[in-house]
Symmetry: C2
Subunit: 162 residues, 2 copies
């Protein structure tokens, strides 16, 4: 597995991953009917950088990196990660997260914040904890889960060093 | 004091308030050198609604209302408030906040979230607490205060009712 910057040619595979994650309505706030064009904007255009984990020609997972706040909060980064269903349980998310921390430091960020981790997504919450992120906040009933209804969302945060 | 939707003609006064708040670098993440054009985008264009508190022709304060997250988080609103220096201590912020909660409910929101309350801004933190917002999270050293250096930011949250 190699992690590199996403190319235009990766987008078809990124879209398939994005769409299947979002349609489920269990882990990301993006509307389940987010279009391919909107996904391109959200995942490849608006962020500062987008990366993919690949094995040969196959995209296993992807993440974006951007600043979380303007101006006087711009030293805190934000990332979002998605892994293809067929590639789960192989450490792809952990590898993407470690990579993202290194890239965030390279781009001068001092911390990383996840604004909206769905509290029922235990796999993610536990992985982020293991990788050094703390639960900095809990937003009661802030996420409309497709199966569970209103559930809490978590804010997670890691200081990356001065 | 009357609170009404902001008009184009209010922008000159809104800009004076915005600029003096932002230049201080003590309470908002907006870059201290945010331009008038950017301020117009941020305060009047991007939000769903913008309101002003006025006394005669004088704008005493202003707030914006928008959704805080996309799609499955779109039932949570977000607001930002600013009060003219000459109008502080008269209950303008409290009046704007009460008004914003009523408007948020009218537009179908179920909750309101403040993403980035500077922890050293005690007047604001105490006012939001008094008006029913809880500290839902604390972001260590997430704000670069112009005088104090890196200080914590708070996430505050209020459920507005079903």
């Amino acid at each position: 597995m190699e992690i590199r910057e996403a190319l235009e040619a990766d987008f078809e595979q990124i879209w398939r991953i994005f769409h299947s994650v979002v349609v489920a309505g269990e882990t990301y706030a993006y509307a389940p009917d987010t279009s391919k064009e909107e996904a391109y904007e959200l995942w490849l255009r608006q962020p500062q950088k987008t990366y993919v984990a690949v094995e040969g020609d196959t995209v296993l997972g992807t993440y974006y990196l951007k600043q979380n706040q303007l101006g006087l909060g711009s030293h805190v980064s934000n990332c979002g990660y998605m892994v293809a269903e067929s590639a789960r349980g192989k450490g792809v998310a952990a590898a993407l997260c470690e990579h993202s921390q290194a890239m965030a430091k390279r781009y001068g960020y001092k911390a990383m914040q996840y604004n909206f981790v769905v509290s029922t997504n235990e796999v993610a919450v536990n992985l982020w904890k293991k990788l050094g992120y703390e639960i900095a906040g809990r937003l009661p009933k802030a996420f409309r889960h497709s199966k569970l209804g209103l559930v809490d969302a978590l804010v997670m945060y890691k200081w990356l060093g001065d």
